[in-house]
């Protein structure tokens, strides 16, 4: 048997629905159709009345989830694409994210964002916009990179008493496979050493973890031992694990698929520079997508985002200093 990242997301939701009567799923085409990516396939049959189709109303979808959370339920919201969450943005950052702080009433909602680039997706079906959510107080922002994490982190996300932005990478949906679902997992908030090394730390998250690992494998053939840190959660960000890794390697490259201004790579570099300055043997570096919308044509698309090749090249630059 082999389980994809997408299967894991479906299974995690099935698990949550089974375990907790307070859980329900709400989103466009999630019921009989099973979702645009089939992440809720058959769940409407298995859990009648608890997997519900929504109109094309992202603002009202999030608002409804907040109300249900106030009433003690634990809604899982599927946005059809992360890009469309901009229309529900206000309810996420100003309604959901402020509720607990303002009223002491927690807001346990999970917003699933199918995000990240796939070839041919174009400017509005490819975005990685985790940073705009992480910027606001009151949200937990998760970016699982593995089948195992997709499963265990989604289960934990639903159990958390706070609003969680769950960024699931569309490219990983079908490309990533595992033998079985995990029974144990790192808790949310902890980063993972995806590969050990002593020459350079590459910090990455979501799909870019795999590009970093591929680069590390290539660099190994050149004699370099590259450590790869998988952030798992970008807010909170596990600064301790990152700094401990940099303490071992003295070199830091941070890789993200998002737009270059601000965002995860800026936050990671800023933290390490402030708190682990003395550990750095050479200047820390970032690698992001380019500062344009995300192109449609595969040639442009591949040049727009980091790839194993450009990650390896950036790493070599650092290693040779």
């Amino acid at each position: 048997m082999s389980i994809t990242y997408l299967d894991a997301i479906r299974e995690a939701q099935a698990h949550a629905l089974r375990d907790d009567p307070r859980v329900f799923i709400y989103g466009q085409d999630v019921a009989a159709f099973g979702g645009a990516f089939k992440a809720t396939k058959n769940l409407a049959v298995e859990f009648p009345g608890r997997v519900i189709d929504a109109p094309i109303s992202e603002d009202a979808i999030i608002g409804m989830a907040v109300g249900a959370a106030i009433e003690g339920l634990r809604p899982i919201i599927e946005m059809q694409f992360a890009d469309f969450s901009t229309v529900g943005f206000n309810q996420i950052v100003n309604q959901a994210a402020t509720l607990f702080w303002r009223t002491n009433v927690p807001c346990p909602i999970t917003v699933r964002l199918p995000f990240g680039g796939t070839s041919g997706g174009g400017p509005f079906h490819s975005q990685s916009i985790e940073a705009i959510y992480a910027h606001y107080p009151g949200l937990v922002v998760l970016t699982p990179a593995t089948v195992e994490d997709a499963y265990s982190m989604l289960i934990e996300a639903v159990a958390i008493d706070d609003p969680v932005i769950f960024c699931e990478h569309k490219f990983l949906y079908r490309h990533l496979k595992a033998e079985k679902l995990p029974s144990e997992a790192l808790p949310i908030g902890k980063a993972r050493i995806a590969r050990e090394g002593r020459d350079l730390t590459i910090v990455a998250y979501s799909a870019m973890v795999h590009d970093a690992l591929e680069a590390a494998t290539e660099l190994a053939t050149e004699g370099w031992q590259v450590e790869v840190v998988d952030l798992r959660s970008i807010k909170p960000l596990d600064t301790d694990t990152i700094i401990a890794s940099v303490a071992r390697t003295g070199r830091l490259l941070c890789v993200g698929e998002a737009f270059p201004w601000g965002g995860v790579t800026a936050e990671v570099i800023a933290r390490v520079s402030s708190e682990g300055f003395g550990l750095l043997d050479v200047p820390p570096q970032r690698l992001n997508a380019k500062d344009t919308p995300i192109p449609y044509h595969p040639n442009l698309w591949l040049a727009h985002r980091p790839t194993p090749q450009t990650v390896a090249a950036a790493a070599r630059n650092l290693l040779r200093q």
């Binding site: 603002d59 009202a60 106030i70 009433e71 607990f100 702080w101 009223t103 937990v140 807010k235």
Partner: protein, 347 residues
Amino acid sequence: MSQTVLESGDTADTVVSSGKYLTAYRYMLRARLLDDKFAALYRAGKIHGGVFLGRGQEALSVAIGLALKKTDVFAPLIRDAAGRLAFGETVADAARTYLGSSLGPMRGRDGNVHRGRPRDGLLPMISHLGAMISVVNGILFARRLKGISGTVGAVALGEGATSTGAFHEALNQAAVEKLPLVLVVANNQFAYSTPNDRQFACADLADKAAGYGVESHSVDGTDLTACLQTLEAAVARARAGHGPQLVVAQLLRLCGHGEHDDAGYITPQLKNSALGRDCLKLAEDFLVGKKWADTAQLAVWRSETIREIDDAVAPVQREPAPDPFTEEWQALSTKHLNEIRPDDFEI
């Protein structure tokens, strides 16, 4: 969908009992005097930020609060002191929020009209207009999922807020789910300074109902009897399973948008028109006309109420302000997921 249009008329008073009318009047009076109190505190420089009053809108507002049960849900807006009191909010909660007391429901974190107790069914508005409707939908939806029936959710709105996408998405959502939502639009002719002809182009906002497949009710917002009847009817229809109810009231706000605003944009003609009548004054005339109270009694109630409010507000003014050093600066309820950054320590 059928439209249920109730109009205020001579026969109205046959339906509303004197007891109910008097109760409503006393809440209106309390709200008016509480608003006066906040205005005075504002002029005295005791309130940081804006003060937003409901003068002229008490009849409509109180009717919402009275039509609801304590187990219902109410999302008031900035002009709903009367409805809030009738629904059960205390004067202390209002004063504590305006004054930022650490003992209030918002603990100085949020202020003025942004107050409520979600667990008691009273939702604290965020500022973004229209945003509370879908939240109320969510509560109603959740109750249904949990098998709890009979809840109604009322949301107050100005006519300006009907232009928001949030209003549209949420009303449609409520209609699709056939939720027991009562959406009450106070058409006070202006959104801040913007007159209706720059806000919408339909003949009557109640004309929107058919486009959502919901029932609608139009009411003269200066007429307490009509408001009580209409809201009672709308809430009853919602509770009986007839889906969302859109209530549109015509009235005028008898104050500025906030206390900083002199409302110079409201013309004397409009002020002197039927819309500009003071619902509180009309209610008093009605009480006297009906001999349910005489002017002496009205004066007693007024001075009693002023004293009550003063008595409730005075101790709040002495309550502790929030202390930034003991404040928990944590936006998440899950303690260990809050980031404590080096900057956050006192330097």
